[in-house]
């Protein structure tokens, strides 16, 4: 656990607490704006909703990504791998905002379109991290494991996943940061989150709100990045 990595978390918390008190500051910075502080929802509420979106998408994304990644690397699953590769290829070409907007006519305004896009895009880095990591387990190690009499399940749990853990966690970290960003974009489809002040500010011509939303969204991304970076274990092999 590297405590330095928790600094962004503290910064984010400080931002959440301090921002509501900075009304006069924003008034001085933006003299033309009638309502310099975003007050429609408390920043804490927005942050909680944002974190909720991220968590609600990250768990299924991790399950799907790791599960599909394991399935795609089993012997005799070349088809699964081909399908996964093709899906990832297509998905990466479509920006998340396109998925969110396309989903609105089907799912309606609110959190649902954002959640759909979140799950889709958070799955990709986890899937890529998992297949990549499992593919790099040395073949002689797998041969030795089979020769030692491990069952396929034992090989997966005792050899493959521990060896692949670090890259999978890196994939999860990328997914989480991406999820924070995608959730913010969800505000265009009416999801309540830290992106809401940005969109409200852009729509109402209120640059102060835009700045407040952007600051907190950025800080939250760094906080999530730092948190998961701190949890990632040190590499298994010593220096």
């Amino acid at each position: 656990m590297r405590w330095g990595a928790l600094l962004p978390v503290l910064l984010f918390a400080a931002g959440l607490l301090a921002l509501p008190l900075l009304g006069p500051g924003f008034a001085a910075l933006f003299p033309d704006v009638a309502e310099p502080l975003y007050r429609r929802e408390a920043f804490g509420t927005l942050a909680l909703a944002h974190a909720g979106l991220v968590l609600a998408s990250l768990l299924p994304a991790a399950a799907i990504g790791i599960g599909l990644g394991i399935a795609a690397t089993r012997p005799g699953a070349r088809e699964v791998r081909a399908v996964a590769d093709a899906l990832v290829g297509f998905a990466q070409a479509v920006p998340p905002v396109a998925v969110i907007t396309i989903a609105v006519p089907v799912l309606g305004f609110g959190a649902a379109p954002a959640l759909l896009a979140l799950v889709c895009y958070a799955t990709l880095p986890v899937l890529r991290g998992t297949t990549g990591a499992l593919a790099t387990v040395p073949p002689e190690v797998l041969d030795a494991a089979r020769g030692a009499g491990m069952t396929p399940r034992q090989i997966l749990w005792q050899v493959e996943l521990p060896l692949a853990a670090t890259p999978i966690l890196v994939g999860l970290r990328v997914a989480a940061v991406l999820a924070v960003a995608t959730a913010a974009v969800g505000a265009v489809a009416g999801a309540t989150c830290l992106g809401t002040p940005i969109i409200a500010g852009l729509v109402n011509g209120n640059p102060a709100w835009v700045l407040q939303g952007a600051l907190l969204t950025g800080l939250m991304a760094f906080a999530v990045d730092g948190l998961l970076g701190a949890l990632a274990p040190v590499s298994a092999s010593p220096p």
Binding site: P138, P139, E140, V141, L142, D143, A144, A145, R146, G147, A148, G149, M150, T151, Q154, V159, P162, L163, A236, S237, P238
Partner: protein, 310 residues
């Protein structure tokens, strides 16, 4: 002990095993020798069912290996490979204890066994137990590989080109180590190699393979004296057959007792091979060499013409 009966295996268009028949007796150090593509590794891997044959069967002590669950079978058979394949995320002790752990041994028994095996492989248990594989040299890593294969006390050891990736000096040391281990434990060992010198220095039973079939099996001496097939003769390297034969006999067996040997003759240890005696004579430009016992006294005289009886 191990018996191959008409074993066949094809991979796509290549025929790896084309009706292999072979019997390896209990306690033998059997070496499968052949060029690449001869089917040696495939044959080895049918024993612990890493490969299942298309036809024919493999018997261990008269029992078809196909009748047993593959993982259970493999836990009774030691397996050593060229790539070593130590689990990089586990310590040396955990690596060696892998199979005992699968078999559900108690922790204390595993720990004791790990130390015993490290000592057997001449590695200091307190220094090596907690190292990670990345901290080992190639030779040390392969010693751990052998220790891991021996951990659960299997009575068969399968070795697939185990020393192929080691440098020449380490390889020779490991070969001597294996010969010593075989003599000390009496286990049945099946080793695959394409290195003729390695095969001769280790085998009690030499099995020459080509194109997925057995060409000839027997003691090294039998193969040298009566190669059954020109390919066996070619593989054993025609020009060196005489030297190889000399290397298989003890100089003492050819020597005559000698009371007083001239001091000008070269001295060699009493346990030397015929080949070492010849080398000593050629080096000293003499026609005889004197065997010296461990007490320092002359034990016999071997002459150049005696070597012809080898």
């Amino acid at each position: 002990m191990i018996r191959f009966e008409g074993v066949r295996k094809t991979f796509g268009a290549t025929r790896a095993l084309d009706g292999l028949d072979l019997e390896v007796p209990e306690g033998a150090f059997a070496v499968l020798l052949g060029g690449s593509g001869a089917g040696k590794s495939t044959a080895l891997r049918t024993v612990n069912r890493l490969i299942d044959p298309d036809a024919g069967r493999v018997l261990l002590r008269g029992r078809d290996v196909a009748q047993e669950e593959a993982p259970t079978l493999r836990r009774r058979i030691g397996y050593v490979i060229q790539g070593i394949g130590l689990f990089p995320h586990w310590t040396v002790a955990r690596n060696i204890g892998a199979v005992p752990r699968l078999l559900g041994w108690e922790d204390r028994r595993i720990a004791a066994r790990v130390d015993e095996l490290l000592a057997l492989l001449r590695l200091d248990p307190s220094a090596y137990r907690d190292r990670m594989p990345a901290q080992l040299s190639g030779g040390q890593a392969q010693r751990i590989g052998v220790a891991r294969a021996l951990a659960a006390g299997p009575d068969i050891l399968l070795m697939d080109e185990p020393f192929g990736a080691l440098d020449a000096i380490t390889r020779q040391a490991m070969q001597q180590e294996m010969a010593r281990l075989h003599a000390a434990t009496g286990k049945t060992i099946l080793l695959v190699t394409h290195d003729v010198d390695e095969a001769f220095s280790l085998a009690t039973q030499l099995c020459v393979m080509a194109e997925g079939r057995l060409l000839q099996a027997g003691t090294p001496r039998e193969l040298l004296d009566a190669p059954a097939d020109p390919r066996v003769r070619d593989l054993l390297d025609g020009g060196a057959i005489g030297m190889r034969r000399l290397a298989l006999v003890s100089a003492a067996d050819l020597a005559a007792p000698s009371a007083e040997a001239p001091a000008t003759l070269p001295r060699i240890p009493a346990g030397a091979t015929g080949r070492e005696a010849l080398e000593a004579m050629l080096a000293a430009r003499t026609e005889a060499a004197v065997l010296v016992g461990s007490d320092g006294a002359d034990a016999g005289l071997v002459a150049l013409k005696d070597l012809l009886r080898a």
